[in-house]
Symmetry: C2
């Protein structure tokens, strides 16, 4: 079953350049997916999101199943139409948010019973119902329900959790209705134990998926361990299917993971940081609340060509953030999403020109605590 066509264009070292074809258009990989939790990329219109260069976004099943509900969205013609996003959408399974946001969770072989963080109402999510909800949302890419094993966990607990996730993966696959341009991704679990990760990958390959995600990372283990596990597991995954590292990460995490063979990412960092006054840049992160920007007439990054940098100054954005103005959140989110997309574009270019290792060295060298020394005295 290959519901999603994946063209692997080139491999440089372990880094891969590809194109994933979906019912709502193609995605150049490596790709970064902005997170649209409740049916909107926070503080952005869908036109603005597309303007940043994003080709695919992520929707959260947990939030959308609680409000406005999958039936309403299905009646409306799916999440694409509901939120007016014309490109592909990947939906998660809901499992991760249940464990991080809801209360009174009861995990069993059948699935998970939880209370809504909105109104305390009781809900159940099973592998089958998660797949059904994602079908109603109209996801181009559906994720299997799994348990993101807590960190740290000992090897016995991690094995128990991983093995249940693998049984859920079989049930998810059984429940999935194949359609042209729509696909189902399995998720490798196994915590920080390479042998469990290996077993998990083998189980998923036996089931057969349109893509393979790596879950349960970026949970506090640190970048070194994360990249080691990524490095180990990507070589176990089929080379003709896309690989998706879930919930990652900072720019240098993305670069490290691309170098180790990952094709897709999602993370709330660029959007959430934008709303709290943080800007990403090639020099590092910049705290726009800091009063050093009060009189700074430069753009966040004078070399950036995003809407925020082309039209507004640091002092204006600093003023907006200090004044708690919505436009401050919008402009920083816009800049950050654009920065992430530019980074992915540069990574794809570096893979194409076989200069990906040099790219990482150069990237890490120019990081300078978010400042732009050449322009400092202006």
């Amino acid at each position: 079953m290959k519901n999603l066509k994946f063209d692997l264009k080139k491999t440089t070292g372990k880094a891969r350049l590809g194109v994933l074809h979906t019912a709502h258009g193609k995605i150049n990989t490596p790709a970064f997916m902005p997170v649209g939790t409740a049916g909107t990329i926070k503080a952005m219109t869908p036109d603005a999101v597309a303007n940043t260069g994003a080709e695919i976004i992520l929707g959260n099943t947990y939030h959308l199943m609680l409000r406005p509900g999958p039936n309403l969205i299905e009646k409306f013609g799916g999440l694409h139409k509901f939120m007016n996003w014309k490109g592909p959408i990947l939906t998660d399974s809901g499992g991760f948010q249940i464990l991080s946001l809801s209360s009174l969770r009861k995990l069993s072989e059948k699935g998970v019973v939880f209370q809504s963080h909105i109104d305390g109402s009781s809900h159940e999510l099973t592998p089958e119902s998660s797949i059904e909800i994602q079908y109603k949302l109209g996801a181009d890419i559906t994720m299997v329900l799994d348990e993101c094993t807590p960190f740290p966990s000992n090897i016995e607990k991690t094995r128990t959790s991983m093995e249940r996730s693998m049984r859920w993966a079989i049930r998810s696959k059984d429940a999935f209705i194949p359609r042209e341009g729509h696909g189902l991704f399995g998720i490798v679990q196994g915590g920080m134990y390479p042998e469990l990760r290996f077993e998990s990958a083998e189980s998923l390959k036996d089931i057969g998926f349109d893509g393979y995600a790596i879950g349960g990372l970026a949970v506090g283990e640190g970048q070194d361990m994360m990249l080691k596990i990524v490095d180990n597991i990507t070589q176990e995954l089929p080379s003709d299917r896309p690989r998706y590292l879930m919930g990652v990460g900072k720019p240098k995490d993305l670069i490290g993971a691309v170098l180790r063979g990952v094709d897709m990412f999602d993370c709330v960092l660029p959007t959430r940081s934008g709303r709290t006054g943080q800007a990403f840049s090639r020099k590092g992160e910049i705290n726009m609340r800091n009063s050093r920007h009060k009189n700074d007439t430069r753009a966040i990054d004078p070399a950036c060509n995003c809407y925020a940098c082309e039209n507004f100054s640091r002092c204006y954005i600093h003023h907006l953030i200090r004044s708690k103005e919505i436009l401050g959140s919008t402009l920083l989110t816009w800049h950050n999403l654009h920065y992430y997309q530019e980074l992915m574009h540069a990574l794809r270019k570096a893979i194409a020109s076989e200069s990906i290792e040099a790219f990482e060295t150069e990237y890490l060298t120019q990081l300078d605590g978010g400042d732009f020394p050449a322009l400092k005295d202006k």
Copy 2:
């Protein structure tokens, strides 16, 4: 002195069609000015504001003098450049906000001493300093400092207040530096007393201004009294200068005032209401929080061609408002500002075609509590 060129194109009854020429472009009148309190129309990019059809916006001297301060904005090249608004800007004098937002105010002949609502710091605003601040902001249209007489006030207090405002008007005029395409507006006060309004208008005409504002209305006196005072005073004002009714209002207030010879308006209603879930429409105001919109796949107004109505449904916007998503504020603000601009456009058309009285009748007839009965059962 005519720093601002005003072409009165046509008069139908008392309603006037005109064009006001400023340093940053022309304004078709009757015109509605969105309020950009702290250097931003809340929840909107300047591109989005221009997209609604707005030709001029208003900036608040009180907010901008406290944060980020007039010197910073002047250093930056003025408010236009700071906030990236390319059209004309009118700034108020700061007087009204001092009385409504700050604490520990001490009003004297010299001016007003007040405490900032942001950090409690002490500030003084005089007619001269208000004009200087507005100069630094780079306003196309500057307003004299006045006192918005509290409502209700007896005739003695109202006279005392009005007469001081007229002395401040002389000092404001003396402090104003004339420049091509920039103008100074006087403000008629006198509370609810026609004879004081008349005296105030005479004083201002003697001083001579580029435009004449009507202040101290929409303070709780009701629409009937407001329109009676507007009707009385417009006939006392020079016909070759624009007339600006400050802080007004609801759509039917704008129509009533245009019929009585007013050319310009500003009000926070379309923006503030948008952020709290209210939509304006030709059928009246619509509370988008109401659960009757939960399954409604229609646009706010199916006949509206704003960005929100062309791309999103009531059920989506209802979902955003309920989920406290920023995009909900943006879309409703966008719709409301577009609605106000469309109303002004329709009013200008009705004046041009000499059908303004019929326009008002038709407008009031179609109001129906915000619902669209023809589509109700869909």
